[in-house]
Amino acid sequence: MMRFLRSHPYAVTTIVLLAGWYLITRGGLVGKSLLASPSEVVAVLADGFHPTGQAKAVYHHAWDTACRGLAGWGIALGLGSLAGLVMGMSSIIYRACEPLVEFARAIPPIMAFPLLLVACDFGPASYVWTIAIGCLPIMLLSVSRGIQHMDHARLDLLDMHGASRPLRIAISVIEILPATLFGARLTFSISLIVTVVTEMVFTPRSGFALGALAKDAQISFDTPTFYACILILGSYGYAANALIRHCEWRLSGEARRAS
């Protein structure tokens, strides 16, 4: 048992948190309108699997939110990596663009939403581009700084050995993957935040959105649904972080080093 806890310390924090949550709600230390009990939240999540649990079909909302978030995040990942590559390879372009990127980073992406409504109408595109705009500066800076701080000794050796241009580009792309994955990890949580905030402020036409569901649940004191939304969002963030971390781990050779 102790060995398991030592190798999985997060299990302890999870168990302590759940036990504390249960005891607080069970003992009535916090009102039901503020904090739902774990069993109530589980009931909401289980109801989502039930064919007649349509009223609280949180998973439908969760799916639509995930699609919007992933689409925006994917665009930011692609565009940010390409633009970061260009910025990182030329110090002149980097110095020319960095102030603009830092300026854009300070602007909440939701402020761009009305403009995007004009450009894309009240459709999914405006949400997706809002998320992409929110993630783009971080992705761009991560990749460009990753390139600047890359260890050039290995690539210099390739040059000295007369490596072809396509091979050099392919190797450079692999070499900047750690910086790209780091940026991806940072921006995934940002994409979730932007998605939910945008959905809370501007409910999509389809009506299915985790942010909108959470807002409605909060207004109507439906705390179990509200906390179910929080749990789903947290799970998204945890799963994506674990997946990207695993990729980073494999890439750096840590997996074999540890064995």
Binding site: D151, A153, R154, L157, L158, M160, H161, G162, A163, L167, I171, I174, E175, R250, L251, S252, G253, E254, R256, R257
Partner: protein
């Protein structure tokens, strides 16, 4: 050690090589290198000339900070202020270079196995995959190594990585091999085997080799020529009196040393080189 023996060991830096042998010689003529800082321009070497025939190894020997690695990088194709470098060719339009950097640990991609790291650095890594695998095996065997090339760099010691760096350079079948302290991390047993294998491979593959070495044992057993560099800025041009005079020596002791096993200090050749550097040997 007599002055007569000194004179026998020392040879002109650009000993004339004529006829077909000239085309088989790596030659640097009058090369100079300096670098600029905020405080001014600093010369590392000026008017350095040297020639290395195919199948021979030239050692650069001298104290730290004299610019041996800089000279190596210049010989490998980095920018020089002036001078000319001519390399023999196997058949391609550019000389094929094999380079063993001083900081070999940083020269490996951590995400790939040692074998993949070597394959990436070979000509035609995709099309010539099968031939390259055979070249790696040949280089591995020529160096008399027993290295597991399926490990990742993170799983290897410094010595193992240095062995892999040696294989990587030799597997390229280079026209010119530049090795910056190639045996510095090897243990005694491996080093003695690798030294033998290395000098044999240089002869068999007819490579022009230039190596920076700090160990007299390495020099005696591996090198045919030694450029003794006493200070900085240095030159091989005797008319530049203001510069430290780098002098070229032939190593007639290599075969004899391997047969008799004398200590480095007893070798007239080593005594001559040490005297040129102003170093007292026990």
């Amino acid at each position: 050690m007599t002055s007569h023996q000194d004179a026998q060991a020392q040879i002109p830096a650009t000993a004339p090589v004529d006829g077909p042998a000239a085309a088989q010689t790596f030659r640097a003529t009058g090369i100079s290198f300096s670098y600029a800082t905020g405080a001014g321009t600093f010369a590392v070497f000026r008017d350095v000339s040297l020639a290395v025939p195919r199948g021979k190894t030239l050692a650069l020997f001298g104290p730290n900070g004299t610019g041996k690695s800089t000279l190596m990088r210049c010989l490998a194709g980095a920018r020089v202020d002036s001078g000319r470098i001519e390399a023999p060719l196997i058949g391609s339009s550019r000389p094929r270079i094999g380079y063993i950097p001083q900081n070999y640990v940083r020269s490996f991609f951590p995400w790939a196995t040692l074998e993949t790291n070597i394959l990436i650095n070979l000509p035609d890594p995709v099309a010539g995959w099968r031939a390259n695998k055979a070249a790696i095996r040949d280089a591995h065997d020529a160096l008399r190594l027993d290295l597991d090339l399926h490990r990742r760099p993170g799983q290897c010691s410094g010595g193992m990585l240095q062995q892999a760096a040696l294989i990587r350079a030799l597997a390229r079948r280079p026209d010119l091999l530049i090795a910056d302290e190639p045996f510095s991390a090897l243990d005694f047993d491996v080093a003695s085997r690798v030294r033998d294998g290395f000098s044999q491979a240089i002869r068999d593959f007819k490579i022009c080799a230039v190596a920076t070495l700090h160990d007299l044992q390495d020099i005696i057993e591996v090198c045919d020529l030694v450029l003794a560099i006493p200070g900085r800025p240095y030159t091989t041009n005797p008319t530049l009196a203001s510069h430290a005079q780098a002098r070229l020596f032939e190593n007639p002791e290599r075969k004899r040393r391997s047969q008799h096993g004398d200590g480095p200090g007893e070798s007239p050749f080593i005594r001559a080189v040490s005297k040129a550097l102003g170093v007292e040997l026990p």
